[in-house]
């Protein structure tokens, strides 16, 4: 007889029945906790089982309470015909929704929107954060800023909605091929999905204007909302610049930052015509010289800040959009739409829907500088 050294195995060999107890305990535990997650029993006669399935002991949904303060019989009624978007937005009490995709929290951004002179009770805020470590960090800072403002009785906004994105492929992007253009396309596609998710879950029946303000925009005129709405355009973009210290003169200076505000050019169209369906045209790549007139270069320090110019593509830095444009379906394409993606694709889609897109070359907002 073979001598088995392991005493447990020896024990089991001697008394095989002794296994019944632990195995049955394991099975009981399994059925008690997990059986509900398996396939439902169809013996009840009904085609489907309506037994509630628990999501586990720790699955308490910690999202905000879903339905609260519902009106009588849960019925509410909105007349969208009465919604106005006018040059006189503040006097007509038009509601503004400020939307910000945020992967990094900059205190200056928060201070800047806190200083906006538009009536805060007419402003709603919406944030979406990526599902990664950056998002965790930014969310903690944002939470702190909101709680501090609340404690100081400085939080007067109508509503603040904070979303966590459901997809997290931003991480996987790093391991992918490093070709800059490909990464750019992927990054902006993800960005487009984030913008759309934020936009469509926060746009309310009472929203007249939507201000897209990037989390990196740290300085704007305090009257930003009034200034942009006063042009009464479907889509209007401010010029995004950046403050920096000029190394040669040691003087604070400014330089153009956002090159996605542009007018279409013959060259650009020619390049687009030669591309495959799933390729995009982007600004700022030498291998793709579009010769598009960029709004960033039209800044004239002495010019009238209210000078308008028609655009074909916009960046997302600081763009005021009539909510009707989005309600008609203008969104941020996450796929090449006329070889354009995200905010530039949005401008194209707005144009396809019959809206005009404008920019203010002399109206500057400033991007964060690391």
């Amino acid at each position: 007889m073979v001598y088995i050294k392991n005493q447990y195995i020896r024990y089991i060999r001697k008394k095989p029945l002794s296994l019944i107890a632990p195995i049955s305990v394991l099975l009981l535990v399994y059925f008690y906790f997990f059986a509900a997650h398996g396939s439902s029993s169809s013996s009840s006669g009904n085609k489907y089982s309506y037994k509630k399935k628990s999501r586990g002991l720790f699955a308490k949904n910690r999202d905000s309470v879903i339905l609260k303060n519902l009106p009588k019989n849960h019925i509410s009624h909105y007349d969208l015909n009465k919604l106005s978007t006018s040059a006189d937005s503040l006097a007509k009490k038009e509601e503004v929704l400020i939307l910000t995709p945020m992967s990094r929290f900059t205190p200056q951004y928060w201070d800047n929107i806190q200083k906006l002179t538009y009536e805060h009770s007419l402003i709603s805020l919406g944030f979406i954060l990526p599902r990664n470590k950056d998002g965790d960090v930014a969310l903690k800072h944002l939470e702190e800023a909101i709680k501090d403002a609340k404690a100081a009785n400085q939080l007067k906004y109508k509503k603040i909605t904070i979303l966590r994105q459901d997809t997290n492929s931003l991480n996987s992007q790093l391991e992918k091929d490093r070709h800059a253009l490909n990464v750019q396309k992927e990054r902006r596609s993800m960005m487009a999905l984030a913008r759309n998710s934020l936009l469509f879950t926060t746009i309310a029946p009472t929203t007249s204007w939507i201000l897209w303000l990037d989390a990196d925009i740290v300085e704007t005129p305090a009257g930003l909302i009034q200034d942009l709405t006063s042009h009464n355009k479907p889509v209007i973009s401010a010029n995004v610049y950046q403050r920096y210290e000029d190394e040669s003169t040691q003087q604070p200076s400014i330089r153009p930052y956002d090159f996605n505000n542009w007018v279409e050019s013959e060259e650009g169209l020619k390049i687009a015509a030669g591309l495959a369906d799933d390729e995009i045209v982007v600004e700022g790549y030498a291998e793709m010289a579009t010769y598009r007139p960029l709004m960033a270069h039209f800044y004239d320090a002495k010019g009238d800040v209210h000078t308008e110019m028609q655009l074909d593509g916009v960046g997302g830095g600081a763009v005021m959009v009539k909510a009707d444009v989005h309600r008609d379906g203008a969104m941020f394409p996450s796929f090449p739409f006329y070889h354009l993606i995200e905010t530039e694709g949005f401008a194209k889609m707005a144009k396809r829907l019959g809206y005009e897109v404008f920019g203010l070359p002399n109206y500057l907002v400033y991007h964060f500088n690391e």
Binding site: Y11, Y48, F58, I66, L70, N81, I146, Q165, D166
Partner: protein, 459 residues
């Protein structure tokens, strides 16, 4: 030699010391193994517990940071990952946004709410959103009446979640003359208007916590009460049933209704290439021969209702989507997107964004029968024909009566009566008169050559 007594083995004083010590050892070792097995059980139990807790944490609670804004009511936090929708949503408390665009729909609302009351999906998980636009009848009043009725139902499980009614008029469409019937110029404004209406509805109605969106026209006549579960359990991003309509006998009982659900074909693609940017392909036009396989025509009444089919364009009578499809930007293009508009373009756009678009060829819901103008003409003719036939039958009855009376055959009666009259008359001496009729017909024959009988042709 000295022997101790104990060493002398006798049968009466037998003590096996070796065995005793062996027994002791056995007892000790058995106690030891018992202890060890207890430890073993303990270890196993701990491992199971740890594995269970770990599974719970990793599977159901997100590893991402969750803020706590419970003390600030104006701030809301939602993790969109909790609302991506699953196959058995009704068991996971997943909320459905039920979108219904309405326009001059007052007559259909009683039927529609009849279906709503029967829905088996938990009503408290269904949020209703209505858009009432450009209505000349009392759609709004009817809607509010029915909603009030259902929301005050004594059975609270019949009541729905949040209900939002939106009003927005988009203005009337330009008339459709023959000249601008082709392409986007004609179908365009109509489809564009419908697309805008749909977009205005869902963009304001969808909330972060919706997992599914269901679109339904009010004028559906027959639909299973399990429609939401039936579509949802396929776990597809966008899914539509087959839509047919019943017909009167004289039109053949039934007919495919929704031809907007189709699979793209090479014919369709090459046709699209020939059209200009704003053109809009419309199925069913002779000018637009696409040779596309239509969901409606692939129906087999005895087929398995679970069978799925990939689609490119879809119709809007009944669409179930995951909410993330709309959330991430798919919409009903109110412009020509890949040469299509509205729901057909929604299918194409969703596909373009990488979502699955599926149709169920053998799972059918029935749209109401609305007669076309030709049908109406035919029905009018049928109605007048029926009246005419009734009138004719009445006249014929009177006519037949008169006719029978006037042309009654009385020969038999006369024969018997004649016999009665002549019974007592001696006919033997009655003079027999012989008349020579020969030659009379000759004269008639001559006359008939130049004279005609009156023209008589009965209908």
């Amino acid at each position: 030699m000295s022997f101790s007594m104990s060493q002398i083995l006798s049968p009466y004083d037998y003590k096996d010391h070796g065995k005793e010590s062996l027994n002791k050892k056995a007892i000790i070792s058995s106690v030891k193994t018992a202890l060890k097995s207890k430890i073993l059980y303990g270890v196993v139990a701990i491992i199971v517990l740890v594995a269970f807790v770990k599974a719970q944490i990793s599977a159901f609670s997100s590893p991402v940071y969750t803020p706590n804004f419970s003390k600030i009511p104006t701030v809301q936090y939602f993790d969109l990952d909790h609302y991506d929708g699953s196959a058995n949503g009704w068991q996971h408390e997943e909320r459905v946004l039920f979108c219904v665009p309405l326009r001059d729909a007052a007559p259909h609302l009683p039927m529609f709410f009849g279906h709503m009351k029967n829905l088996t999906y938990p009503h408290n998980l269904i949020d209703l959103a209505f858009l009432v636009s450009d209505s000349s009848d009392d759609t709004m009043g009817e809607l509010q009446k029915h909603l009030k009725e259902v929301q005050t139902d004594p059975d609270t499980s019949k009541r729905f979640g949040e209900i939002e009614i939106f009003e927005k008029d988009f203005g009337q469409v330009i008339g459709q003359g023959f000249s601008d019937r082709h392409g986007f110029a004609a179908q365009g404004p109509r489809r564009k208007l419908m697309a805008r209406a749909r977009n205005w509805l869902w963009t304001v109605a969808i909330k972060p916590y919706h997992s599914h969106v269901y679109w339904r026209d009010a004028d559906v006549e027959t639909v299973p009460p399990t429609i939401l579960e039936d579509l949802m359990h396929h776990d597809k991003d966008v899914i539509v049933p087959n839509v047919w309509r019943p017909l009167p006998d004289w039109l053949g009982n039934q007919q495919p209704y929704d031809l907007n659900s189709w699979q793209e074909s090479d014919g369709g693609l090459s046709l699209a290439e020939t059209l200009d940017e704003d053109a809009c392909i419309v199925e069913g036009y002779v000018e637009y021969q696409t040779w596309r396989p239509h969901l409606a025509y692939l129906r087999d009444p005895y087929g398995d209702p679970e069978v799925e089919m990939e689609l490119d364009g879809i119709g809007g009578v009944s669409i179930l989507t995951k909410a993330k499809v709309f959330r991430t930007g798919a919409h009903f293009p109110a412009f020509s997107f890949e040469k299509h508009a509205e729901t057909e373009a929604f299918g194409k756009l969703s596909k373009r964004m990488g979502y699955s678009v599926i149709g169920l060829p053998h799972y059918v819901i029935w749209h109401i029968y609305e007669p076309s103008s030709d049908d109406l003409k035919h029905m009018e003719w049928m109605a007048s024909e029926e009246i005419r036939q009734k009138e004719e039958a009445k006249i014929k009855k009177v006519y037949d009566k008169v006719w029978n009376k006037a042309f009654e055959d009385v020969q038999d009666v006369w024969r018997s009566e004649k016999n009665m009259f002549l019974k007592n008359t001696d006919m033997s001496n009655v003079r027999r008169i012989q008349v020579d009729w020969s030659g009379v017909d000759d004269n008639l024959d001559k006359q008939s050559n130049d004279k005609k009988l009156a023209d008589f042709s009965p209908e």
